[in-house]
Each structure stands twice: as C-alpha cells, then as structure tokens.
C-alpha cells in the first residue's frame, strides 16, 4: 500500500509534476470559486478551448517551446475573453449559445492546426503529459501562482463587490470592468500554465471542480476558497498516484480524483448537499 502511494514520487519527473500541480492547486481554485459565484462556469470551458488555437500557432511557429506555446495560449485566451465579454454586453447576459459556438469553433481550429503538423502530439496537448513538465513548464506554473495570489488579494474587495452586485459597482465606482478584466487575465494565465502537465482540456478541471465542491462545505467566501485549495491539492496528489499506477494520463486522473471529491461533497457536504436536502435537521 505504502509503495502504491509513495513509489510514484521516487521518480524525478513525478516530483516535478507534483510541484507544478500543487502550484496550480493554490492559484487556480480561488479563481474557480469566483467563476462559480459569478455564474460564469461556462466561461472556463470557453477559455480552455479558446487557448488551444493559440498554443497550436505557438508550437507551429517555434516548435515545442513551452514559452512560445504559452504566449500563444495567453494571447488567444485574452482575445476569446474580450470577444466573450463583448458578446455578453451585446446580448444582455444571454450569451451562452454564442459562447458554445465560440468554443466549438476554437476547439475545431486548434485540433485542425495541431493535426496538420505531424510532429505535434494531439493527445499530449489536450490531456497533458507529466513527462513534458520541464524546468520551463515548472517555472511557468510556479510563476503564474506567484503572480495570481497577490493580484487576487489586491483586487479581492472590488471583485467581491462586482461579483455580488455589479449594478451597485457600476453606480458607485464605475470601474467594474477593469476588475473583471484583470480577473479574466488571471483565469487565462492559470488555464495556460496548467496545459503542459494536465492538457488544455483538463487544466480547467483543477480550477472548477474544487470550487464547485467547496460550495458544499462553507458559508463564507474565504472558507470556500480554503476548501477549494485543499480539494485541489488532494486531487493533485491522488490523481498523480492514480496516473502512475494505472498508467493513465495525469490530466484525466487528477480531474477524475477532483470529480470524485465533488460527488462526495454533493452527497455528504454540510451545505446544500443531497444528504442535507433529504434530512434538513440532521
């Protein structure tokens, strides 16, 4: 049993992957909590697909350089965020069908671009490859976490107010859009930073599933953020152990683990869980 748990981390590349995933586990879930509260869960899907064409273009232009792919992903992600924001304003919040259209288009374009270059492995880009977590990827993940947390701390109060009551924010401070944009920049950075280890399709899993699970454990925003980080760290460790022992890609393994914790939270958490709804006074 102990071997099952510890053996994976005797290997250098697994320890690297763990360090990177833990960095992402600290930075991404707090953003996920805000995405859930702002009812923008769909936006994370759009962004994870939206970064794909950028990553593909980066890879085509500069080979398998993490920095080139990362830069391409960030540029594409920001462009998608801006267009989605514009659509949201134009449609008065009923943008979900346009968002669905955008992410399908982006996914198809990304897959087409990657497939056109036979040197690129589509599975690795979509679902991650822990073997590919080199120094550059690790620095990227740690660097994004280092930037994300202080910036989130600085914009915390305006972001809370803008999430709770955007109308009030617009009426009093008038800079709601700025905080919203900064927040989206952080989301894009986190999605892109996770793609080497987890893949573009799975890196959002570590952002959203812990955040959705945390709703069932705490009444306070800070409490939900803490729980989400804990769930993400557990998922990173547990998922990597599963990935090594069962020989499945790290991205799906970590997301499956996080999904399991979410289902557990949904069933048994102290707040709004199915158990609570069945026995309200327990």
């Amino acid at each position: 049993m102990l071997d099952f748990l510890l053996e994976p981390f005797a290997l250098g590349f697994m320890r690297r992957a763990l360090a990177g995933c833990l960095a992402l586990s600290v930075s991404a879930p707090p953003l996920g909590v805000f995405l859930v509260l702002r009812r923008m869960s769909l936006m994370s899907d759009v962004l994870q697909h939206g970064v794909l064409p950028g990553i593909a273009v980066g890879a085509i232009a500069a080979g398998l350089s993490v920095w080139a792919m990362g830069l391409g992903g960030v540029v594409a992600g920001l462009a998608v965020a801006v267009v989605a924001g514009w659509l949201a304003r134009r449609t008065g919040g009923r943008e979900d069908s346009q968002l669905a259209g955008m992410y399908l288009l982006a996914l198809a374009a990304g897959v087409a671009l990657i497939s056109a270059r036979h040197s690129l492995d589509l599975t690795h880009i979509l679902f991650g490859n822990v073997l590919a977590v080199d120094d550059a990827a690790l620095f990227g993940m740690a660097g994004v976490a280092t930037v994300t947390l202080p910036v989130l701390a600085l914009i915390w109060r305006p972001l809370v107010l803008e999430s709770l009551d955007p109308g009030f924010m617009a009426a009093t401070a008038g800079k709601g859009g700025l905080w919203h944009l900064l927040f989206l920049v952080l989301v894009v950075l986190c999605v892109v930073s996770g793609f080497v280890a987890l893949g573009t399709l799975m890196s959002v899993g570590l952002m959203m599933l812990p955040a959705i699970a945390a709703r069932h454990w705490s009444d306070s925003l800070a409490g939900q953020v803490r729980v989400s980080v804990l769930v993400a760290c557990l998922s990173s460790v547990g998922g990597l152990i599963l990935s090594y022992n069962l020989d499945i890609p790290a991205g799906p393994a970590i997301v499956l683990f996080a999904g399991g914790l979410w289902v557990l939270s949904l069933l048994t958490g102290p707040r709004d869980s199915l158990w609570r709804q069945a026995i309200p006074d327990a």
Partner: protein
C-alpha cells in the same frame, strides 16, 4: 446617526426638457422641473411608465436621448441608488456586515476598510435593527431583513442624493416602518430623497412631493386617477 457630508447636505436636481428611451421605446419626453435640496419626492406611475429609467438617468446611469440634467456640481459618489434587490444573488457567501462595509469606502487595491468605517457599518445595521445579525450570511435572511441590509448599505454611503427603487416591495409592515423611519432621518438631515413607490396610501402619508409619470411625460405633485389605479 451618521455624520453629515462635508459639503453640506442636499442638492438641487434640475431636469431640463429631458427625453428618455428604453431600447427603441420612447419612455419620457419633454420633462422639466426641479427636485429641491432636502426634498422628499415619490416617483409614481403605472408599470412601464419609465420610473426606473428616470431614476437611473438621475443617477447618471442611463443616457439621455435629449435635454440635460443639472446635478448642481456634485460627483457620482454623492449619489446612492438602491436598485430593486431582487437582482442580487442571495446565495452569495457573504455576511450582512461585509455587504454593508463594502459600500462604506471607495474600493481599490490599496484601500482598506478602517475602524471608523466598521463602526459606521455596525451603527447602520443597528439602525435597521439588524445589530445582532451582522455576522449572519445573507442567504439566512428573510426578504425583509435583506432589504434592511440594503438600507444599511445606503446609510453608510452617506450620500446627498438618495434614489430608492421600490424600496418596500416584498417587505412586511414592521420592516416598512423601520425603513420609513430611516427615510425620515435622511429627510431630517437635509438629504434629497427620490423614491419609486406603488403604495399610494404610503405616498399620501409620508411624501410631500410627487412626480407622476404617465403618457410619456411627468406631472409634478399630481396623484393618479383613483379609478385608473384600481384597474
């Protein structure tokens, strides 16, 4: 009671031949008049007559299709708009105290909420009889209690012009009395209050001035035809 604003209270709002559209629909046209400093005015009229649109225009949040509004030289910060609370996400994990405190100060990356602002927050919650609920999450509140929280938030904004959009909708009689007494405080302090209201009895009793919107224009100090109101 909160300290009054630095530049003296109240303000004159002058509407000069304004026209308002909501989307493609013409809502109001050729409306002129003044809200005097320290006045307390009820904005009345049928649904769709443009009350909320006019309130938002006075707050500077809805563009004018024509004419102009003179705010007597003061800033957006001096205006508090209490929109209809139903738009707010009541499942948001936040306490009553934090909802109020977030409005007590201008927000920015390097601004904190000081002790004086927290004291003002506590005083405002006590003023609406929610002193003991400050640490409760808002989702545990009834509709009436939640409206009291929004009033406490409006109190800490310490604004010279206070705009209220249907403040008594979905609240019980006891809460209405508490909220009315807060409005009377504001009036006594010389702040200008404009409220969208539906309950004509309440308007007659408590609001010395009215602006009735009907037929795409406004009628100052008029009341709706009782026959029409019943329909």
């Amino acid at each position: 009671m909160l300290p009054v604003g630095r530049r003296g209270l109240g303000t004159v709002i002058t509407l000069d031949n304004i026209t308002l559209r909501h989307g493609n629909r013409l809502v109001l046209t050729g409306l002129s008049g003044r809200f005097e400093s320290g006045s307390q005015t009820a904005l009345i009229g049928a649904n769709g007559s443009g009350k909320t649109t006019l309130l938002r225009a006075i707050a500077g949040l809805h563009p004018l299709a024509g004419g102009r509004i003179d705010w007597d030289g003061f800033h957006r910060r001096d205006i508090a708009l209490l929109a209809q609370g139903s738009h707010l996400d009541r499942s948001f994990p936040i306490t009553c105290r934090d909802v109020v405190a977030l409005a007590a100060t201008r927000l920015g990356p390097f601004r904190s909420i000081g002790k004086d602002k927290l004291a003002a927050t506590r005083a405002a919650l006590e003023r609406v009889d929610l002193g003991e609920m400050e640490n409760r999450p808002i989702q545990a509140l009834s509709a009436g209690q939640f409206q009291r929280v929004l009033f406490a938030r409006t109190i800490v904004q310490d604004a010279r012009l206070i705009l209220l959009d249907e403040p008594f909708t979905a609240v019980d009689a006891a809460t209405t009395q508490v909220l009315l007494s807060v409005i009377q405080d504001w009036h006594a302090q010389g702040r200008t209050v404009i409220a969208v209201l539906h309950d004509m009895e309440l308007v007659r009793e408590h609001f010395p001035h009215t602006l009735l919107l009907s037929g795409q224009t406004g009628h100052w100090n008029a009341m709706p035809d009782p026959g029409l109101q019943a329909a």
